[in-house]
């Protein structure tokens, strides 16, 4: 594995941004300042960042209901995201998508998805575009452990193998789906994907360097015409399913232990491969992050709601019929 000092700093910046962004969001949400349902990504940050670090805007990702981390890792602007999460007119989706449908086509981010298992077929289609155009791009679907059971995921695995698509199945096995503990042993998800006929491995999702290594190989395989890859990133869902779920159904001592060992940030900083990142650099990055988030919230709270006419715009590009 090979990581440049710039990428190293980027990796830290992105993971830390996700963390700070969401912690701030949580507290604003708890104060009733944000609408809808939000799903926090905490402790899974290394996965999104490792996955997207070697991608460009020409590469694609299809995200899930727990998508803030994927957005940030794929390069979405903090301010535009916040505007969307607050459902404002100038949000990425003009406030019509919100947290569960946030998307940024300019960054190759093909949307969060409030349908569990909704994303993988779409990501397969993006991979088909890349294959057809022969442009070396890759496409990645993020998939929860619960989502991994959904029929659409199996169909996408198979299609990717049959058409040898440049696609990566990025499973985030945080061992919970809503309030229900996963009945699947760790590794089963990768085993299933592998049985479709693609390389599949289990990786510690809290270990940025291990994740980055696996992702680099998967992305290269895709770019070079080697077909799809599956990665099962084993991780921890720090908070409840959605903000407001106190996860009383979990053993608190166990959860606390898991939370501590699964935090990717201290592990990243403690790794010798992160040594190039000086304390000054870290402090500088941290300060910039907090400033960006502060600014984002300021802009967001001052921003306008969508005007009522927006209810009827962008249903179609052209429509010779009645909308009301």
């Amino acid at each position: 594995m090979d990581i440049s000092p710039e990428k190293l700093a980027d990796a830290y910046r992105l993971m830390k941004t996700i963390r700070e962004f969401e912690e701030r969001m949580r507290s604003e949400y708890q104060q009733g300042k944000l609408p809808g349902f939000i799903h926090i990504y905490r402790n899974q940050e290394a996965i999104a960042v490792a996955a997207c670090l070697d991608m460009t805007n020409e590469d694609y990702i299809a995200s899930t209901h727990r998508g803030h981390g994927h957005c940030i890792a794929k390069g979405c602007e903090i301010e535009a995201m916040l505007l969307e999460l607050a459902c404002k007119e100038d949000g990425l989706c003009n406030g019509k998508g919100g947290s569960m449908h946030i998307a940024d086509m300019s960054k190759g981010m093909l949307g969060a998805n409030a349908i569990v298992g909704g994303g993988p077929p779409i990501a397969a289609g993006a991979a088909l575009t890349a294959k057809t155009l022969g442009n070396g791009a890759v496409s990645m679907a993020f998939i929860g452990d619960g989502a991994s059971d959904q029929g659409t995921v199996a169909e996408s695995l198979n299609l990717a193998v049959v058409l040898q698509l440049p696609m990566i199945f990025m499973y985030e096995n945080n061992r919970y789906a809503e309030f229900t503990k996963s009945p699947k042993p760790d590794g089963r998800i990768a085993e299933r994907a592998g049985a479709f006929g693609m390389p599949a491995e289990v990786v510690d999702g809290s270990d940025f360097f291990a994740m980055y290594d696996a992702c680099q190989r998967a992305i290269m395989r895709g770019r070079e015409g080697g077909g799809p890859t599956a990665i099962e990133a084993v991780c921890n869902r720090y908070y409840g399913h959605f903000e407001g779920d106190a996860q009383a159904y979990r053993n608190q001592a166990e959860l606390d232990a898991e939370r501590a060992v699964s935090d990717p940030l201290p592990r990243f900083l403690a790794d010798p491969r992160a040594a190039a990142l000086t304390e000054e650099k870290i402090a500088e990055i941290n300060a910039a992050i907090l400033e960006e988030i502060d600014r984002g919230f300021e802009v967001t709270y001052a921003a306008a709601d969508p005007t009522p006419d927006k209810l009827y715009t962008d249903v179609y590009i052209h429509y010779e019929g009645r909308l009301q």
Partner: protein, 325 residues
């Protein structure tokens, strides 16, 4: 006793599981401590055990299909499709399997399955968690579609649904869960195919279903203050559809506004309007008005969502137009 729709459904599940041990409940998180996301199945696992209250993986085709297969072979499953929006990932098991078993097997099959599902907008959860979709279901021969608007009806209709030998889709509007009303104690059944005349009146008929029945009642109250006597019909079941009650009301009022939260095209609003002009033409004194959501997805932003669903104001405007015709 006064209770909410949420409580009425929970109570009915308890009563029916107690009464008939062939009744099982299955779905995502239904056996969790909090009784699913909205607490509907609260207390069932503790009382009836995990072999009758079954947590499933997030695979709606398997949930619905297994419920159908279990019904075909002797159980009486109550399956949960958490949001009706998820119909897209399991429609085949309803449309081509469960709904058609009896007919295509020449009357051999009996499929006593209930699929409970949440419908409607109003919670800011956006385009994929706020749809209505009951017109699509009401159009399918072989299933019945139930849309209670209050807690008493929820209890009476769910009891009937569970005891019905045909497949039933039971639609719960998420914005109504906490609405309370007086609910009969003990066993309580309501027949399918009988609309409820929520308000009697003679100047205009307002037809609603699920949440729009509540909106229609609110409109009727406002109209009464203006001296206008509106009759409100809550369809209660969309399939079977109580066409007689609508037509009969029209003979009194001659005017009709249908309020339906679904998208406009091929909606229940269109169905009722079509009924009126086909079989109630003689009685009509004015154009029928359809008040629906627009032909757009449900926007996430609460400020647009509020304008999306039919409001009392929009119903009042339609009524005024009709009355001034």
């Amino acid at each position: 006793m006064k209770m909410s729709i949420r409580e009425a459904i929970n109570q009915t599940l308890h009563q029916e599981m107690e009464r008939d041990e062939r009744v099982i409940v299955l779905g995502e998180d239904v056996a969790s401590d909090q009784g699913g996301v909205y607490g509907i199945t609260d207390g069932l696992p503790a009382k009836f055990g995990l072999h009758r209250v079954i947590d499933t993986p997030i695979t709606e085709s398997a949930i619905v299909g297994a419920a159908g297969g279990a019904a075909l072979t002797g159980l009486r499953p109550v399956a949960e499709l958490m949001f009706v929006d998820f119909l897209g990932v399991c429609l085949d098991q309803i449309l081509n399997q469960i709904a058609k078993f009896r007919y295509m097997f020449g009357g051999q099959a009996r499929t006593p399955v209930v699929i409970r599902t949440m419908i409607g907008a109003g919670t800011g959860t956006g385009p994929q968690h706020s749809q209505i979709l009951y017109p699509l279901l009401a159009a399918i021969p072989g299933i019945k579609v139930v849309t209670p608007a209050n807690a008493a009806d929820a209890k009476g209709l769910l009891t009937t649904a569970i005891r019905d030998d045909d497949p039933v889709i039971f639609c719960e509007h998420k914005a109504l869960y906490m609405d309370e009303c007086e609910v009969p104690e003990g066993e309580y059944l309501l027949p399918f195919g009988q609309a409820r005349t929520a308000v009697e009146g003679s100047d205009i008929t307002i037809v609603g279903m699920s949440r729009t029945a509540v909106i229609a009642e609110e409109a009727a109250t406002q109209l009464a203050q203006k001296g206008i006597s509106a009759e409100v019909i809550d369809l209660r079941t969309l399939s079977p559809l109580d066409e007689g009650s609508v037509l009969e009301s029209l003979t009194k009022t001659g005017r009709l506004v249908v309020v339906d939260e679904s998208n406009p095209f091929c909606s229940m609003a269109s169905e009722i309007a079509g009924l009126a002009v086909e079989r109630g033409f003689d009685t009509l004194d004015a154009p029928v008005k359809r008040v629906t959501s627009p032909h757009t997805p449900v926007p996430a932003t609460p400020c647009l969502e509020a304008n999306y669903v039919p409001s009392v104001e929009r119903v009042m405007a339609a009524i005024e137009e009709t009355l001034s015709y």
